[in-house]
């Protein structure tokens, strides 16, 4: 992508995608850097097909096929040179064999991708019709996964964002693309996943990437594991970087769902947030998106900004209801250390957001959306006509997911490498280093932490309660066969107090938050998590418990 050829957009969207925010010490420091221009990948010893170092600021590589050369072969040659990484909790076992599925597959990724994309279109309506409730997953959970792809670049820093993103002088997109493809292949191979249920392109500002890149990654995914045509494939888009023509190109590349970082319908607020788009830009993009992806467009709206008042914000929300599709996310602003907004509030040049006002906005906003026929299926997410995000649902149901790209997080069992324990994985944060590692080893996994049974249960609890369905007995059973929800929470006085207060429900369906409880879930968890720990320690040692 040339500098001149691509529309420059505002900061990345604070999307609903998995954001690589928590990293090992080492990773974090690297991640804050201001720098970053996609650096050319040094030629390394590679597998089949010498890689062509991509030169220049690449106005070329229109054809996806040319850009993906050399991607897949990497792992084979690099495998023997696994360095010991200080940040790693486990020695990282690099793949020692090339991924069989990959080798030949990359010849014509573009064509495949288009083919895949076409099939997707057909399948969309079908999937759309089925009620998303519960997302029954018939296949064994370990053989399927969601996939997150992180595009780390932004054009501008937003004042509230502390995600892993970089404002480059120029992106060597071909190299980036090749590395994303390579890493996706490697990780899919490691996971042994047979089927990818959803893909999410987050960032950064992934709508700054070229549709070719998206197509290449999707193609690789479909090759390495099955990507059914009706899988949800979401792209985070910023209003200014996504004019209609580009959106259409993304659609052709296989994207079938858009999440638009609209954030506000007030130009002053957009300015405060450091966004480069205006409210009218956003609405225009929204209209285009709905035309192209009917029923599959989500918008983000922020609340609790400094000096923001409840009344005007609710008017924004109501106005948005006139334009939006079937999915809305309401995000309360979190002032994150290290952001411009945080500094301004700290210095007193901006008033600190009033939590009481934010709480009011949230409650009122929920009510407004409920009246408009939206189901609040998660703390911050609202959908009607069953337009829930499958991908994000996977996170809250503690399904497996793979994280591809700088700083991406994943959680899966590396079955392909003979593992049996789920691991939390974090990729190297900083794009240049990540690319070097991917080129050398086929992936840029920086940290692997095996999750114990209890830890996994804690996540099941903390994530599951974020949803309206909560944790069903069946769902819990899948993770804890020996310990029912009743066993854990049935006899606790403290939990009883929460039930009596009407914040929590525990019944034949399972454990879930009430309408009021959902707003204070983090407080509830401070009672529930210790209770779970206690119950776990007291549980009757069962014969099959392997640890």
């Amino acid at each position: 992508m040339g500098r001149g050829t691509r529309p420059r957009t505002g900061g990345q969207k604070a999307g609903e995608a998995a954001q690589p925010t928590t990293l090992s010490r080492k990773g974090r420091t690297g991640g804050r850097g201001k720098r970053v221009r996609a650096q050319q990948v040094a030629p390394q010893r590679r597998g089949p097909g010498p890689s062509q170092p991509v030169r220049g600021r690449g106005a070329r590589s229109r054809s996806p096929s040319s850009s993906c050369r050399g991607g897949p072969g990497g792992p084979a040659g690099a495998a023997l040179r696994t360095p010991v990484r200080p940040g790693a909790c486990l020695p990282i076992s690099r793949r020692t064999r090339p991924l069989p599925a990959v080798a030949g597959a990359m010849a014509l990724p573009g064509a495949r991708a288009r083919g895949w994309a076409a099939a997707t279109k057909m399948a969309q309506r079908r999937r759309h019709a089925e009620d998303a409730k519960g997302f029954p997953s018939p296949a064994p959970p370990s053989s399927r996964a969601a996939l997150y792809v992180h595009w780390p670049y932004c054009e501008k820093r937003c004042s509230y964002c502390n995600f892993n993103k970089y404002v480059p002088r120029g992106v060597e997109e071909a190299a980036m693309r090749s590395c994303l493809v390579t890493e996706a292949q490697t990780l899919l191979g490691l996971s042994g996943v047979q089927r990818v249920d959803s893909v999410f392109f987050g960032g950064g500002t992934p709508s700054l990437a070229s549709p070719n890149t998206v197509a290449a990654v999707l193609e690789a995914v479909d090759q390495a594991a099955h990507l059914p045509a009706d899988s949800e494939v979401t792209l985070e888009a910023n209003p200014t970087s996504a004019p209609g023509s580009r959106l259409a190109a993304f659609g052709a590349a296989g994207i079938n769902r858009l999440s638009i970082g609209l954030q506000s319908l007030d130009d002053k607020e957009l300015q405060l947030l450091g966004r480069t788009h205006s409210a009218s830009d956003a609405l225009q993009t929204l209209a285009e998106a709905r035309r192209l992806f009917p029923g599959r467009v989500s918008v983000d709206l922020m609340l609790g900004l400094p000096a923001q008042k409840s009344g005007p914000w609710l008017r924004q929300l109501r106005e948005l209801l006139g334009y939006c599709d079937d999915h809305i996310s309401l995000y309360q602003l979190t002032l994150e250390r290290g952001t411009a907004l945080f500094t301004q509030v700290q210095r007193g040049t901006l008033p600190a957001p009033d939590p009481e006002v934010a709480a009011e906005m949230y409650q009122e906003g929920r009510a407004v959306l409920r009246e408009a026929g939206f189901r609040q299926y998660e703390v911050s997410n609202f959908a009607r006509n069953g337009a829930l995000s499958t991908h994000n649902w996977t996170y809250w149901q503690c399904g497996q997911y793979l994280g591809v790209g700088p700083g991406a997080h994943g959680r899966f069992v590396p079955q392909g490498a003979g593992g049996h324990t789920r691991e939390a994985r974090i990729q190297t944060l900083e794009p240049d280093n990540w690319m070097k590692e991917v080129t050398l080893f086929g992936h840029g996994t920086r940290k692997r932490v095996p999750l114990g049974e209890l830890e996994l249960l804690e996540e099941v609890l903390a994530m599951g309660l974020r949803t309206d369905v909560g944790i069903t007995h069946q769902h819990w059973q899948r993770f804890a066969s020996q310990l029912s929800l009743w066993d854990v929470f049935g006899s606790s006085q403290e939990v009883k107090a929460l039930l009596v207060q009407g914040l929590l429900l525990l019944d034949h369906r399972g454990l879930r938050c009430s309408w009021e409880g959902l707003a204070v879930l983090d407080s509830l968890l401070l009672t529930l998590l210790p209770r779970l720990q206690e119950a776990w320690l007291q549980r009757a040692p069962s014969p099959g418990q392997g640890g």
Binding site: E356, G407, A424, D522, S523, L529
Partner: protein, 635 residues
């Protein structure tokens, strides 16, 4: 019990009146609010002027002994002592009215805030009457019972007192205590009924009380309004007429009483002295009867109320003396000074200050230890009555055990630490010293004395080692409207007090005297007494209650339900704050990349929650207790 035997322990303080007729205020009439402001305007006394302002040295020889009067003003808190003093100074031209404000500014912050006198102040007034110039030395005394030893020393420099009584409130406990101090010192007492301008003033009733309680004919009372200046001139004339000149001899060798001392960073100790015999001037070598140390006098002078150097001070006069003493312990209150090689009989009644209330003091943050240490050292330079022992506590770390004259003294000290040295401390609940008589010779050898004094509860010896424990007792005077007599007596009995006396001072007011174990009254007796009689108590209790509620509100984390914080006196709620329930406490974005961080945070918070103390179902952080305790000590 170490009651009577231990009189040495209870000292002058035995006459102390702690809890005074709190009750009747609310009952009789509204609070005399206008005069409550009086403390703010009174500060004529301070050593306000720098030496640069000093005038020419004055010759004190022109005042012969018969033209000198040394007197003091004694009164219950807020009865207008300091306002009267201001008027007297104005009348005699010692201060201008216009200078008042400036003087107020120079006061110790703690004194201004509390409207109390912590340090004694002295002023020499020059007054012409009937063709003679008189030197009237007014020695202001600390009003509070904690300082009754200082009061008694100040009084011993006087020949008479003005006993100021509020025409509205009548005789109060402190009035009684002060009267008896003066009476015991055989001073002439001039009763002054103040605040006659107030709407509810009833000077006749007060005259009768004075007659009944103090046996002073009612026609001797002078009725004034210090605020308006009414009749104040008569007070000065009465001082000259009714108070005898000091009985002293200039020819005798020097004998001077130290009745106060302060520390000046540049000039060392400044001792306030009253000369009973002899003359003192610059260059004299003087000796302290207590320390036997020899010092050379650098400067003498009178207090006007600023220091005004004089050539000499003569017998009968009151002034200050600077003699290169580096530490206030070298000029302790009550000590006698004499000329080197001309030893005299020390003046009677000297006692080293004995702390009666002990409390642990700890820095809130241990890294502040050294700063706090130096702050305490600096403050004790100025206040020799505070004793300091190093101490440490498992919970609070390294600190000190400090001894104070009384609770107010402790609070003032703490407040000065905070205000003047910006130190914040944890002060533990005060305790009183105990004595234990050891049971065996072996133990006596071990402890090196038969009777040991315990100032730290942690060091209390086991019962098996001790034949007898002794505790300090005080004689307390309580004046109350008769309808509360029953309740007050029950309270006193519950505090193990022994009744000594009970009289009606007028138709509906009773004066009770009880011997109290000090321990029983040191912490909350005053509050309990006040709460017996709701009316008066409410005003102050309300503000204290409110402050505590607010502090607690700020230190309690929000929880899932609303928490009401109420302050109550007995069953009556006087203040309320609420900690609102959390309305929203949930992470907005929680996706794949946020899970690890969120779980870590939740677990850390859950750990933190385990450390909270549960009171009922409310979780309270530990430091909340400390914060609330702290407010109690600076209420």
């Amino acid at each position: 019990m170490w009651t009577l035997v231990g009189r040495g322990w209870s000292h002058g303080r035995a006459l102390a009146v702690w809890a005074a007729g709190t009750a009747q205020r609310g009952r009789l009439e509204p609070l005399p609010t206008p005069t409550r402001g009086a403390p703010a305007e009174f500060r004529a006394w301070d050593r306000l002027y720098t030496s640069a302002e000093r005038k020419e040295k004055i010759d004190m020889s022109r005042f012969s002994v018969e033209n000198i009067r040394n007197f003091s003003i004694i009164a219950h808190v807020d009865h207008g002592k300091s306002t009267l003093a201001d008027r007297l100074l104005e009348l005699t031209g010692t201060i201008d009215k216009t200078k008042n404000n400036k003087q107020v500014l120079d006061k110790l912050q703690v004194e201004r805030e509390r409207g109390i006198t912590v340090k004694a102040q002295t002023a020499s007034l020059f007054y012409n009457w009937e063709g003679k110039q008189y030197l009237l030395n007014l020695i202001d005394t600390p009003g509070h019972v904690d300082f009754s030893y200082e009061v008694s020393r100040s009084l011993s420099a006087c020949q008479g007192v003005l006993l100021v009584v509020d025409a509205n409130e009548g005789i109060q406990a402190q009035t009684v205590a002060n009267f008896f101090l003066a009476f015991e010192a055989q001073l002439s007492v001039i009763p002054v009924i103040n605040k006659i301008d107030l709407k509810n003033a009833d000077p006749e009733r007060v005259e009768k009380q004075i007659e009944k309680v103090f046996d002073i004919p009612s026609d001797e009372c002078i009725k004034i309004s210090a605020k308006l200046g009414t009749n104040v001139e008569r007070v000065l004339q009465a001082v000259i007429e009714r108070i005898p000149p000091p009985k002293v001899h200039c020819k005798n060798p020097l004998r001077a009483l130290v009745f106060d001392s302060t520390f000046d960073q540049y000039r060392g100790v400044i001792a306030n002295v009253a000369l009973f015999d002899g003359v003192v001037s610059k260059g004299d070598k003087i000796v302290s009867a207590h320390t036997k140390k020899i010092h050379e006098v650098n400067e003498v002078g009178v207090l006007n109320p600023n220091e005004q150097p004089a050539h000499k001070l003569y017998a009968g006069q009151v002034g200050y003396l600077i003699a290169g003493m580096k530490d206030v312990t070298e000029a302790q209150i009550g000590d006698t000074l004499y000329l080197h090689k001309q030893q005299v009989e020390p003046l009677p009644g000297f006692k080293s200050a004995k702390p009666m209330v002990f409390a642990g003091m700890y820095p809130i943050d241990q890294s502040e230890y050294n700063n706090l240490k130096s702050a305490i050292e600096k403050l004790t330079i100025n206040d020799s009555s505070v004793t300091v022992h190093r101490d440490s506590s498992l919970a609070l770390g390294a600190g000190w055990r400090l001894g104070f004259l009384g609770l107010l003294h402790m609070e003032v000290f703490n407040q000065r630490l905070e205000q003047e040295y910006n130190a914040s401390v944890i002060l533990t609940t005060p305790t009183v010293p105990y004595k234990a008589v050891l049971s065996s010779a072996k133990l006596i050898k071990e402890y090196r004395e038969k009777e040991i004094t315990i100032i730290n509860p942690a060091q209390f010896p086991e019962k098996s080692k001790v034949t007898e424990y002794l505790e300090p007792v005080v004689l307390g005077t309580i004046i109350t409207p008769d309808e509360y007599t029953g309740k007050v007596m029950m309270l006193c009995q519950a505090r193990r007090a022994v009744q000594k006396n009970m009289i009606f001072i007028d138709q509906n007011r009773v004066m009770l005297k009880y011997l109290f174990p000090l321990n029983e009254i040191v912490v909350d007796f005053y509050d309990s007494l006040k709460s017996l009689s709701s009316g008066y108590a409410r005003d102050k209790a309300h503000s204290v209650g409110k402050a505590i509620c607010e502090r607690l509100k700020d230190s309690l984390p929000r929880q899932l339900f609303e928490i009401a914080i109420q302050a109550a006196v007995g069953s009556k709620i006087i203040a309320r704050e609420t900690v609102k329930a959390y309305r929203k406490n949930v992470l907005a974005k929680c996706y794949g990349g946020d899970i690890t961080r969120k779980m870590k945070l939740l677990k850390r918070q859950a750990e933190g929650k385990k450390k909270l103390r549960k009171v009922g179902n409310i979780e309270v952080p530990r430091d909340a207790f400390i914060k609330v305790l702290k407010t109690q000590s600076d209420k």
